[in-house]
């Protein structure tokens, strides 16, 4: 079956751009646009959202009629463990304190690789925590609580 050639990557890219433009455009609706003499807070964003939408349409239309390259593998495991690491750190650094939060963050991040075994991961997380605490908390004197209120009994 002969299908028309189409660059899927660019098609998705164009759609995403249009979606982003629509989102920003929707967000500007509440802002005052003003005149070109006294531009309101909405003037410039409105202009840009419109431009972004047009570019999205352009990229989308260009994707038809030519062959795209494959995108290659997607790092699902990486996404699953790398991205939550800073979020977890953010959620716990005040409550648990710097030391336990960092330890758990490194442990989570280390799981992103299939090659990481449990014991090396533990050793690595302990080392990272000790060294970072020495450098950032004691050395540079950053104002972090080393152990937070959640751990007070």
């Amino acid at each position: 079956m002969a299908t028309k050639p189409r660059d899927d990557t660019d098609m998705i890219a164009g759609l995403l751009l249009m979606a982003a433009a629509a989102f920003f455009g929707w967000q500007t609706t509440g802002l005052e646009v003003g005149t070109s003499l006294r531009m309101g807070p909405g003037y410039f964003p409105m202009l840009l959202s419109g431009l972004l939408f047009l570019l999205g349409v352009w990229v989308f239309l260009k994707s038809f009629g030519r062959e795209g390259e494959p995108t290659g593998p997607i790092a699902w495991r990486g996404i699953l463990f790398i991205l939550p690491a800073p979020v977890f750190f953010g959620l716990t650094v005040r409550g648990l304190g710097f030391v336990p939060a960092l330890f758990l963050t490194s442990l989570i991040a280390s799981q992103a690789s299939v090659k990481m075994r449990p014991l090396p991961a533990l050793v690595l997380a302990v080392l990272v925590t000790i060294i970072s605490t020495l450098i950032f908390s004691y050395g540079l004197g950053l104002p972090f609580r080393r152990f937070g209120p959640w751990l007070d009994f």
């Binding site: 006294r38 963050t105 970072s132």
Partner: protein, 502 residues
């Protein structure tokens, strides 16, 4: 003579014991992270940026400059040893450098890269010292309209030099501008695009964006395919080029320095263009063009010099106009703003010690690289054999601490995760992130100058074309856009970038 006394002052600032120390740490850390495969100068600086915030402004910028040179050098090392350039500017080095390494001349290639870079860096530092002050005088004449037009030119140039198709690069600029608008409107105090989250009322954190889009997206890309790397470590020959090789590299180094110095000043990423241009020139001039691609020493010496010279002179638009020429300079601007310095022409007059201190530290940083890194090459090579799965948890921990330490704002850490994902998705869809970062940094400035210019001209948009400097800059920007869309040039441009990816 003014220049000498100014340089003298710069050196006395830069060579204080503490600043030398920070420069050294910067160079070492920069090389350390830059040597990691696939991580280029931009990602390295984004990750290490937060470490410098606790320092005084001068020391912090000196350390950052050190990180920059270190990262670039580290990038060349990986390009030569494992054929994995971290950045497009060292992609050219990989072509012949890796071939030299395969023929057992890795040491010579590394030393050539270092020596060429050092020479080019020294010359270009002098050029910065000579040309920056008079340009500042011109820059002081700039009004809102000129600034607006100049930034438009910079953004257009960054589009022209980005990988991928032109509409996609343009879209990245616009998306960056929109992200830069997030926060409180300076004129009316209205919150924009904050989604009701008060923590974003000061705007999205620049460090979070840079670390996410460049650092974390890079890690995810490396995790896609965890295959073994082949490191050319078994036979690293003696480092120093012999007399015959030295004679061969003099010409390319000189020409590379010249090409790089001129192209580096161009806004939008001239250093990348410089290494390509130098490679092409050397290939044309060579008596043995067939050697290129099979380990020609001139193919390492020329581009590396051009690259470094360009990297150096790209400080000129930053220091005189406050306009970043490439993503790295955008990071520098971010760092300066966080330190409370407004980049632009007033820096020279208001803070001469900072200005000349940075210039002097450029040279010192380059010297340190040569002195330290040639003997330390063995160590960097060992580092290449450290498996990646040990490195990235460390990097993630450092990123988390670093981003949090900027403002102690938990939302910045959520932003890192978001921008990490965004950066990864964008790279999967073959968008280039560099124009996005430039747009993000320039967004607020661009809008402010546009609005100011319109108020000053009483709502007359012709102000941009009736003021001669502004008109000239816009014509230039238009010319670049037209050039990019001309069929022959477009084809040529795509060829160049495909070559670099190969």
């Amino acid at each position: 003579m003014d220049l000498l006394s100014n340089l003298g002052m710069g050196f006395s600032v830069a060579s204080s014991f503490a600043n030398l120390g920070f420069c050294l740490i910067g160079v070492l850390l920069g090389t350390l992270i830059g040597v990691l495969p696939g991580i280029g100068a931009t990602a390295t600086i984004a990750m290490l940026l937060p470490i410098t915030f606790q320092l005084e402004p001068v020391s912090s910028l000196i350390m950052l400059a050190g990180i920059y040179y270190g990262a670039q050098y580290g990038g060349s090392t990986t390009a030569i040893l494992i054929n994995m350039p971290g950045e497009s500017s060292s992609a050219v080095t990989a072509i012949d450098g890796y071939q030299m390494a395969r023929k057992g001349r890795a040491g010579t290639a590394l030393a050539t890269a270092a020596l060429g870079s050092f020479f080019a860096g020294s010359v270009a530092t002098f050029l910065v010292a000579i040309f920056a002050p008079p340009l500042t005088a011109i820059a002081l004449e700039f009004g809102a309209a000129e600034y607006f037009s100049l930034m438009v030119l910079g953004l257009v140039m960054s589009v022209a030099l980005a990988h991928g198709t032109v509409p996609k690069a343009l879209a990245m600029v616009v998306l960056g501008l929109l992200l830069g608008i997030v926060g409180t409107d300076v004129y009316t105090g209205t919150p924009r695009f904050t989604l009701g989250i008060t923590q974003f009322s000061d705007g999205l954190n620049f460090v979070a964006l840079a670390v996410g889009v460049f650092g974390i997206a890079e890690i995810l890309r490396n995790l896609e395919d965890e295959h073994e790397r082949q490191v050319m470590t078994r036979n690293i020959n003696s480092l120093f080029p012999n007399r015959d090789e030295l004679r061969q590299i003099i010409g390319p180094v000189l020409r590379g320095t010249g090409v790089g110095s001129i192209l580096g000043i161009l806004p939008g990423g001239g250093a990348i263009l410089a290494s390509f241009a130098s490679y092409t020139i050397e290939k044309k001039l060579s008596k043995h063009p067939e050697e290129f691609g099979h380990g020609a020493i001139a193919g390492v010496a020329g581009p590396e010099s051009a690259n470094n010279a360009g990297a150096q002179t790209s400080f000129i638009p930053l220091l005189t106009l406050g306009i970043p020429a490439n993503p790295v300079m955008a990071l520098m601007i971010g760092a300066m703003i966080i330190q409370g310095i407004v980049p632009g022409p007033s820096v020279v007059t208001d803070q001469p010690e900072l200005f000349w201190g940075i210039i002097a530290s450029m040279w010192i940083g380059n010297l340190m690289l040569v002195v330290l890194n040639l003997p330390l090459i063995g160590l960097w090579v060992k580092l290449l054999t450290v498996p990646y799965f040990v490195l990235f948890p460390i990097i993630m921990a450092m990123c988390s601490i670093g981003v949090y330490s900027v403002n102690s704002n938990v939302y910045d850490l959520f932003a890192v995760a978001f921008f990490g994902l965004l950066g990864y998705v964008l790279s999967k869809l073959r968008f280039e992130p560099a124009p996005l970062l430039l747009g993000f940094v320039l967004g607020p400035l661009l809008e402010e100058n546009l609005r100011r210019a319109m108020i000053l001209s009483r709502g007359d948009p012709t102000t941009f074309v009736t003021r001669p400097i502004s008109a000239g800059l816009l014509v230039l920007a238009l010319a670049v856009l037209v050039l990019v869309f001309l069929p022959q040039i477009r084809r040529r441009r795509e060829e160049v970038f495909t070559e670099s990816e190969g």
